[in-house]
């Protein structure tokens, strides 16, 4: 019986989600970009990402180089395609890590309350008082700019927001009647948190995580832009934009193509997240 009801719930969500055309477009773009990232090696070999040719530098888009070439004469199409791996990986990895950390800390704080809540909340407050970008900047400055450190920096700066969100969601859910009921027939705390509280709190958390992927991609790009992110020759999109900035008058296409991809990727996650908000919110059901 329960299985069937669950299936019905997902079908319900999907039905509502489908109604939202923008969200559907977002989903299609998202899938396309994920496919590009997964199949990058088949689309264009990695060698083209790094192979230089002084004679072919700063060429505008052509049949041979669809997106043109950069200042080293590297093929921009190959760089943008392979760049999707870095950007998506950063977005997804940081969001998931921040979510995991946020879930553990936020759920404990929200559920246990008291001293646990106080300690976690105060530490969270400390982190929340520093603008995230500043925190990331300081961490990158301390550790140095490479993929791993960038991920650490962005994750650290977004954990506190997650803790706070999950804490409040859990607190709301924990006060609902069915949790009280579960408590009263003697279910263990762990079971209550993982079987009852978290699943019911999933809506806002899923939405937040989806949308945070897009803001993480943008943060990473921003850090790369002020020279505190991933360093070339890695074709992360923000690094591509940062290289392109210097040539924006002579080779505007260098700024255009990675820009389009970054906007499309961020937008697709935002659209999906927005679509999910409506689809998952039980209060908005009509």
């Amino acid at each position: 019986m329960a299985e069937k009801r669950k299936g019905g719930l997902y079908r319900d969500i999907w039905r509502r989600y489908k109604k939202n055309k923008a969200a559907m477009i977002g989903l299609v773009i998202m899938i396309a970009i994920v496919l590009i990232a997964v199949c990058a090696d088949w689309i264009v070999p990695y060698e083209k990402v790094i192979s230089q040719s002084g004679a072919e530098r700063l060429q505008p888009p052509s049949a041979a180089h669809w997106f043109g070439t950069d200042e080293y004469g590297r093929d921009l199409f190959a760089r943008v395609i392979h760049g999707s791996r870095y950007s998506l990986f950063i977005g997804v990895a940081t969001s998931l890590m921040a979510l995991a950390a946020g879930a553990v800390l936020g759920a404990s704080a929200g559920y246990f309350g008291g001293v646990v809540d106080n300690i976690i909340s105060r530490i969270t407050d400390v982190f929340l008082c520093v603008p995230p970008i500043l925190l990331s900047l300081a961490v990158v400055a301390a550790l140095g700019g490479n993929l791993r450190n960038l991920i650490i920096a962005i994750t650290i700066s977004s954990i506190p927001g997650n803790v706070r969100l999950i804490r409040s969601v859990v607190m709301t859910v924990a006060e609902e009647d069915y949790i009280e009921a579960a408590c009263s027939y003697g279910a263990s705390r762990k079971r209550i948190i993982f079987r009852h509280v978290l699943p019911n709190a999933m809506g806002p958390i899923i939405v937040n995580t989806t949308m945070s992927i897009s803001s993480m991609i943008l943060s990473a790009a921003g850090l790369s832009f002020i020279g505190m992110g991933i360093q070339p020759p890695s074709p992360e999109w923000g690094a591509l934009l940062s290289e392109a900035e210097a040539y924006m008058f002579t080779a505007p296409y260098m700024l255009l193509f990675p820009g389009i991809f970054i906007v499309l990727a961020a937008l697709s996650f935002n659209l999906v997240g927005d679509g999910l908000t409506d689809a998952l919110d039980p209060k908005l059901r009509n």
Binding site: E71, G145, Y247, F249
Partner: protein, 512 residues
Amino acid sequence: MQRKRKYEGFPAKITALCLALGLACSVSGCGENYIDRAMDEKSLVIAVEADVDTLHPSDYSTTVESNILEQIYDPLLAVSSDGLGDPEPRIAESYEVSEDGMTYTFHIRHGVLFHDGTPVTAEDVVFSLEMYQESEYQGSQVDGLDYAEATDEYTVVCHMSYPYSPFLTGIGRVHIASKDYWEESPEKFSTDPVGSGPYQYAGRNKGSSITLEAFEDYYRGEAEIQTVEFEVIPDQTTKSIAIQTGEVNFTSIESSSILALKGSDRIDIEEVATSGFTYVCMNLEKEPFTDERVRQAVNYAIDRENLVNVCYDGEAEVNSNICSKSRFGYSDDQKQYDYDPERAEELLAEAGIETPYDLGTMLVAEKYSNIATVVQNDLKEVGLEVDIEVKEFNAYLDDLTQGNYTITALNLTLEGDTQMCSMALTTDYIGTANNARYSDPEIDALFQQAGQTNDTKEREALYNEIFSKVQEEAVYGVICNPYLLYAHNSELSCGEIPFEGFYQIYDFSWEA
């Protein structure tokens, strides 16, 4: 009830405010004024990439600080940093050097005034020299000086600890400051500078701009351009847009903006030679670079023309010599390495290197990663493989100076006299600027000798010997000397901008 009204009124008011603001701007036309602001005949706007931290005459460290102080303070003599040409008199009318090179006597010009109206005397000169001696920042400008004394009101005698020929080049960069002013207000000394140069300090907005005004009583005559504003613009692109819109009249720029600016007939570009050199640095204490032939092979393997095109957009002089071509002591007879991959492969074979050979990691700071990328490609062509590891600049410097690397690429400036090249080549500087960790008693001795002779011919011969030997042994893999690039409004005449880009706004003028 009250609260409710607030919610209604709040957005409406703000909207109205925004509309009003927008209207005010378009009606008053302040959108057009700002561009013409800079076009006034008597004023000049210069963009600099960072704010100054101090305007202390001797305790400064950045290029921007140096550029601004240069306009406010005058030196004793104007000495070109390329070591060529005779010193021109400034505050010192004339000078004599004793035969043994142990005393320098400077005769101070009468009637030179500081911006506060007090005259420049020998006391002030002695004070300034002593201030430099104590400075952690610019102390090297007075290397070799034991003490200075004022023998009368207008004569200063400098006593040397040992004969040191580059002393005059250093003197050319010593700013003469007022002793009285320092005693009067030591706090304001570094924030509201009082010099005797063509421009006086007129104020600043922290983080955004510094204003200078022409000094009426300047002894060489009042400057043509009356007010100079230095605007801080850290972003390269914003800077090159500002020069195109005319908001800025003069600025240093990076080579990547050149192509776009060259297309504009309103903007002229000046290329200024510098002593700065971009090079591949090999650690001579590590295999396989202990072998001279491997270092020569690396030198032959680099396609310098291509690198200059790719990394500097062609705005650098190809040169494999650590001494730049316009510097005293350079000669075409000193070996130049040209691009010759076959020769490189032969040399590697001679050295017993079997290609492909793994050189390990090429350490590089983020701002030189573009050079590393190109060099990596060139080395691969001759069978030497490296991985690039990018480090944050300060962490990189630690590894570099302590010799924790095998091969790297960077740019270094050894400003001042040619003698400064000793910093990259003598044993004493291992751990600071001698990053190849090159140690050769013969070179150490030659540099010491060159520093102590005052005879120009003899010094030239000594430097020739040094650079010939260093080039033959391929101590470094020098690639090029990047030009310093300045973009300016084509109606602005900038005279000749001297070596190292020490520009003098005094020589600038607007063409009618």
